[in-house]
């Protein structure tokens, strides 16, 4: 082994390692970050229409991903689809008139209520038009369906609601109920314990019992993280 050989070996190993790192670690990471950033930007754009919901989508996506991990029904790479769906589940609200979203006693008339409900269809249509997001569109379309058929847009029953949508439904409603910024007339933010109690009562009726159990587990995990973030921000 001459010194020349060992120098060439060293250079060779460096180049090989560097190109591997670039191809399989750094660039994919950047890709992922780029994608998430653009989805978060879109989520922010919708939330800007309803200022009291700021941060709703990001928090929902944290819950959904935690719940999905605990359900043991998804491979790691499938979580991505849920994350996108959760970040973008309110995107259809860009197509709902501003007054309806922001009036204090919102949706007093039936027609107003139906106009607001259109947002799930609009959102699913927007996602459906983008190849990378097509797999998330179903979760968005059905995330307001309840097991007993009382939800919208189609009033589906338990078995015909995709599991993605059941997760998203419970997570987003939980975040909604406990959000301290929820200042609509007549509604005060629930404590997390009250909200969990409510979900437990409705388990098997409106919500899937498995999903409610997952929510409890995820909450134990996400809440401390959430508190830490909040402290960090303030």
């Amino acid at each position: 082994m001459t010194p020349f050989n060992s120098i060439v070996d060293a250079i060779g190993l460096t180049v090989v390692t560097a190109s591997f790192a670039a191809a399989f670690v750094i660039t994919p990471m950047q890709m992922r970050r780029a994608t998430l950033q653009s989805y978060i930007a879109m989520a922010r754009a919708v939330e800007a229409r309803e200022p009291h919901l700021l941060g709703h989508s990001e928090l929902t996506s944290m819950y959904v991903v935690e719940m999905a991990k605990r359900s043991h029904r998804y491979w790691p790479w499938q979580l991505r689809r849920l994350e996108c769906a959760a970040l973008l589940h309110t995107i259809g609200k860009v197509g709902v008139p501003y007054v309806l979203l922001n009036s204090p006693n919102q949706a007093t008339t039936t027609s107003d209520r139906f106009a607001i409900r259109e947002y799930v269809r609009i959102g699913a249509a927007i996602l459906d038009a983008v190849p990378q997001l097509q797999s998330s569109a179903d979760a968005v379309l059905y995330h307001r369906e309840y097991l007993d058929g009382s939800g919208f847009p189609h009033g589906r029953y338990a078995g015909s609601i995709p599991f993605d949508a059941k997760l998203l439904c419970v997570a987003s409603e939980f975040v909604d109920l406990t959000s301290p910024r929820m200042q609509r007339a007549g509604l005060r933010a629930m404590t997390a314990q009250d909200a969990l109690l409510y979900f437990r009562q409705q388990a098997g009726r409106k919500y899937d019992a498995t999903v409610v159990r997952l929510l409890e587990q995820a909450h134990r995990h996400v809440a401390p993280r959430q508190a830490r973030n909040a402290r960090h921000e303030s």
Binding site: F4, I7, V8, I11, G12, V15, V16, A18, S19, F20, A22, A23, F24, I26, T27, P28, Q30, M31, R33, A34, T35, Q37, S38, Y39, I40, A41, M42, R44, A45, V46, A48, R49, P51, I91, V94, G95, P97, Y98, V99, N102, I122, I126, A129, V130, Q132
Partner: protein, 500 residues
């Protein structure tokens, strides 16, 4: 890099192209003179090695990825050419490069020889196919040949041992030089073909290659040294980092696509919330890019300014449509809520790191030159140039807005082109930057001339079909139609006084 068929038809046989082609011939002769490799006298093992190198080069070229939208593809073939140079001299390196490039060019584009593409004539198609092949041959010959000959004369032919660090270093330099000669030739061709500025084409295509080219430059030498010792194993081993580098490259391209798609989606959301903005955004984006060319904006902003124009009003998603479309005077509360839109818009855009600068431009697109704008009351040169560009274009399009009915703003009648132009000139210095306005008026003039030339070309057909068509005529009067925005136009057209 290889010219794609996407670029080939746009290249006309100009002086420049002829020069590249004629340069290739002396380079080829020189490479033969410097090291006259006799392929028939090679030992058996050497022949096998050469053949393997060639096969590898062809394989890697078949996996090439397109580089942005210019019509150029990139395959990780350079290290193989450098290894060939090290082992067999410059002529063999040229042969390997060119054969690999031509084979892949022909196999990827062979349908063009037999199937007619929409909008092309078959003979013309064949001619530009041949022209593309010719240009690829000559530009690769020039790049590989010159660097190869220089290397061979200065380093390889001299007394010191071939397996020295000097040789390793020299080959790395050769690899980098080869890449950039190739890149310069292609950039020049593309910038002539698309009539755009050289530095912009360069920036869009090669900005990110500096590191990877340098980092991967020793690959060719390592490959050559390994092959000299253990021919087959060396080649196999080197294939792994080559493909890894290639994958990194492809992902990089896709990441840019992801950002573009994000901008696109935001634009689509904007349209969902305010349906009348669609054409407006695209016109504003087009003009902003034209003006950026005229104003000598740095190339790194060029790519972004179109996005900035698409997203400049994204903050209006958060403003009540009833206010935006209100007929009649706005009260203070209405104005307060409209004035939040640049800030909200910049907050949305700043979520994407790629758009950091754009967020700043969006924030300031309602600032005025005299410092009475919002949100920060910046004046003169404190306002970013890009924001000044957007504010002029946006105001103009808002004023003439409404060529078609659904684009018309409900609260006011559109102005004529001339009235809008004189309004821009009137507000120079107070609201708009004079330099920007004059460049914009030039851009408009040029477009009008082109439109008129087009009309003149089309006129005979029109008169044959029917007599005067009033609708068409009136649309041409405002060739650059428009629609949308609301407050800019209110402010510039008479709403200004009300605002204070």
């Amino acid at each position: 890099m290889v010219i794609d068929y996407a670029l080939a038809p746009k290249l006309t046989p100009t002086q420049y192209l002829k020069r590249v082609t004629s340069l290739a011939i002396p380079v080829l002769i020189a490479s033969l003179v410097i090291y006259p490799v006799n392929f028939f006298a090679l030992a058996h093992l050497q022949l096998v090695t050469l053949f393997m190198l060639l096969a590898l080069a062809v394989i890697t070229m078949l996996f090439q990825v397109p580089v942005s939208s210019v019509g150029v593809s990139h395959g990780p073939v350079r290290p193989i050419a450098v290894a060939t140079l090290y082992l067999f001299g410059p002529f063999a390196a040229i042969v390997v490069q060119v054969v690999a490039a031509l084979l892949s060019y022909c196999s990827l584009n062979r349908h063009l020889l037999t199937e007619q593409q929409p909008g092309f004539e078959l003979p013309e198609q064949r001619r530009s196919f041949m022209r593309g092949a010719m240009l690829n041959t000559s530009q690769l010959t020039v790049a590989t040949g010159t660097t190869g000959c220089v290397y061979w004369m200065l380093v390889h032919a001299h007394a010191f041992h071939q397996q020295s660090l000097a040789a390793a270093f020299a080959l790395s330099v050769v690899s980098v030089a080869d890449f950039y000669i190739n890149a310069v030739i292609i950039t020049t061709m593309a910038s002539k073909a698309y009539k755009s500025r050289w530095d912009i084409v360069w920036f869009n295509n090669y900005r990110w290659t500096y590191w990877s080219t340098t980092l991967l430059s020793p690959l060719g030498f390592i490959m050559g040294a390994l092959t000299a010792q253990t021919p087959l194993f060396g080649l196999m081993f080197i294939l792994i980092p080559l493909l890894a580098a290639h994958r990194g490259f492809a992902l990089h391209e896709r990441r840019l696509a992801v950002y573009r798609q994000g901008v696109d989606m935001l634009g689509r959301m904007m349209q969902e919330a305010h349906p009348y903005t669609h054409g407006h955004l695209h016109r504003v984006s087009h003009w902003a890019q034209q003006m950026a060319l005229g104003l000598g904006v740095p190339p790194e902003s060029m790519a972004l300014i179109g996005d900035a124009a698409i997203l400049h009003d994204i903050g209006k998603i958060a403003v009540d449509e009833r206010i935006l479309n209100k007929i009649g005077k706005l009260n203070d509360a209405d104005w307060a809520s409209i004035r939040t839109h640049p800030v909200i818009g910049s907050e949305i855009a700043s979520q994407m790191k790629y758009l950091d600068e754009v967020a700043l431009w969006i924030r300031h697109h309602h600032e005025k030159m005299d410092g009475t704008g919002y949100p920060d009351g910046l004046a003169g040169d404190q306002i970013p140039l890009e924001s000044r560009i957007i504010s002029v274009v946006d105001a103009f399009d808002a004023m003439v807005g409404g060529a078609s009915k659904d684009e018309r703003r409900p609260y006011r009648e559109p102005l004529s082109n001339d009235a809008a132009r004189s309004e821009l000139v009137r507000c120079c210095g107070t609201q708009f930057d004079e330099r920007v306005v004059s460049v914009f008026l030039n851009v408009l003039d040029k477009e009008q001339e082109e439109q008129e030339a087009l009309d003149r070309a089309n006129r005979p057909k029109l008169t044959l079909v029917s007599a005067p068509q009033p609708e068409i005529a009136s649309m041409h009067g405002r060739a650059a139609a428009p629609m949308d925005d609301l407050d800019e136009s209110r402010e510039s057209v008479g709403g200004r006084k009300a605002m204070g």
